[in-house]
């Protein structure tokens, strides 16, 4: 399959071409640049990108699978980027999010791609953005990015998506957890999943108080939604919330601003990642490696021609 066939196939919604295109870009194979250059900015701009994040076991994949069903009932073509962690030991990964989405395997308007973090620590993989854009090029109107199970500080998804839903479940932490800084401060929607379990009502109250504080301090509205994902309850309302928030963001200019920020961050992340091997080479060459690490880093950057001293 040559690159022009792949590029043409993506626009034709050919599953094989979409799969190949994402791999080529993810692996930085020859042709990656041609693929990325071929993408249509208008299609990318029109696509709604939603981040689904939250603690491991909160129900992200089950909720994502239910959202697929909801969007398909609205006849929307949908993409899913499902990220799971790479092993720090072997570099391998077990990508298991798809198990819960297999009921849609034969639907050609559901484009699912499992991706490993490959060393990125922010909860998403480096090529997630490119995968989203390729899916948008293939006609996806909505793309959901399901992050790895996150703790409190994996913020990459908030920078990358048009809006982000943080999925919580009762029994995973007390109200002190909710007071800490982090994702709860920046997600646009707080989803209390497993709402049929004991403790869910209290969690909803806690989250509503988080939302209220944000309103008072930052003047930002945050929605709190309840779902029972494995029964599909609350999922249509959640999708409706996505739509309404997206509408508000489009109207207020927030969407355009977030897209611009997302591009900036993605460029910075890539720049750092692309220069990392050269830095690693220099570090390996240093004999008698002593002195303060930050000062050594400045020396190495100076050797590479990057001015870093303030």
């Amino acid at each position: 399959m040559n690159i022009s066939n792949v590029i043409e196939g993506v626009s034709r919604r050919d599953p094989r071409s979409i799969g190949r295109a994402i791999s080529i870009v993810e692996n930085h194979d020859p042709g990656a640049q041609a693929i990325l250059d071929s993408l249509d900015a208008e299609k990318i701009a029109a696509c709604l990108v939603v981040g689904i994040t939250g603690l491991p076991g909160a129900g992200k994949s089950t909720l994502t699978a239910q959202l697929i069903k909801e969007y398909r009932s609205q006849k929307k073509r949908i993409g899913i980027v499902a990220v799971d962690p790479s092993s720090p030991l072997s570099g391998g990964a077990l990508l298991g999010d798809r198990v819960r989405m297999m009921n849609h395997a034969l639907d050609r308007d559901v484009v699912i791609r499992s991706m490993a973090t490959r060393g990125r620590l922010g909860g998403v993989c480096g090529s997630a953005g490119a995968a989203v854009r390729i899916m948008a090029q293939s006609g996806c109107e909505v793309v959901l990015i399901e992050t790895v199970g996150v703790g409190q500080s994996e913020m990459d998804i908030v920078r990358m998506a048009d809006l982000t839903a943080m999925v919580l479940a009762p029994g995973l932490g007390d109200d002190i957890q909710a007071m800490k800084a982090g994702l709860l401060e920046v997600a646009d929607i707080l989803v209390v999943n497993k709402a049929d379990l004991r403790g869910a009502d209290a969690l909803v109250l806690d989250m509503e108080s988080v939302a209220q504080q944000r309103q008072e301090r930052q003047g930002r509205s945050t929605r709190v939604c309840s779902t029972i994902a494995n029964q599909g309850q609350g999922v249509a309302a959640l999708a409706q919330s996505f739509k309404e928030i997206n509408g508000q963001f489009q109207h207020s200019g927030e969407k355009a601003q977030r897209r611009l920020q997302a591009r900036r961050y993605e460029v910075i992340d890539w720049a750092v990642e692309l220069i990392r091997p050269r830095i690693a080479d220099r570090v390996a060459q240093k004999q008698g490696f002593c002195g303060d690490p930050m000062l050594l880093a400045q020396d190495i950057l100076a050797e590479l021609g990057v001015e870093s001293k303030k």
Partner: protein, 132 residues
């Protein structure tokens, strides 16, 4: 291993015995593969469609229940239909010696039976992925 190999481990048909598939999936993960696991009770068409979307290098099929002669070749056919006959299919499970030649003729590259070591299986995946 610098290039990341992607493989899919699947269980076609009405067979809920997934211990073997999970052991293989973890062994491959531990050897640096990115392994997509699609769970139990899936049709050959569903497995092939997932393999195409995920753009894997190889598909590993696991079977205990005895339907391998029908299900393994069906996955090979579905991949070919999807224009993905370059995705290699290997299989394993409780498979009688006599069936191995039939499966290989139908396009299944390797067959592993009880007693195969994890090393054998990992090496086989490594081999088929490298050759691509």
């Amino acid at each position: 291993m610098s290039k990341k190999y992607r493989v899919l481990i699947g269980k076609p048909g009405l067979d809920g015995h997934d211990r073997g598939a999970k052991v293989i999936a973890q062994a491959l993960r531990d050897h640096g593969f990115e392994v997509i696991y699609t769970g139990i009770r899936r049709s050959p068409a569903e497995i092939a469609a997932a393999a195409v979307q995920e753009d894997v290098d190889a598909v590993g099929l696991s079977s205990l229940s005895g339907a391998h002669l029908r299900l393994f070749p069906a996955v090979v056919e579905e991949l070919a239909k999807a224009g993905a006959d370059d995705i290699v299919v290997v299989g394993g499970g409780v498979i009688p010696e006599d069936d191995i030649a039939t499966l290989k003729e139908a396009g299944v590259r390797e067959i592993f039976t009880p007693g195969a070591t994890l090393e054998d299986v990992v090496n086989a995946f490594q081999g088929v992925c490298e050759k691509k």
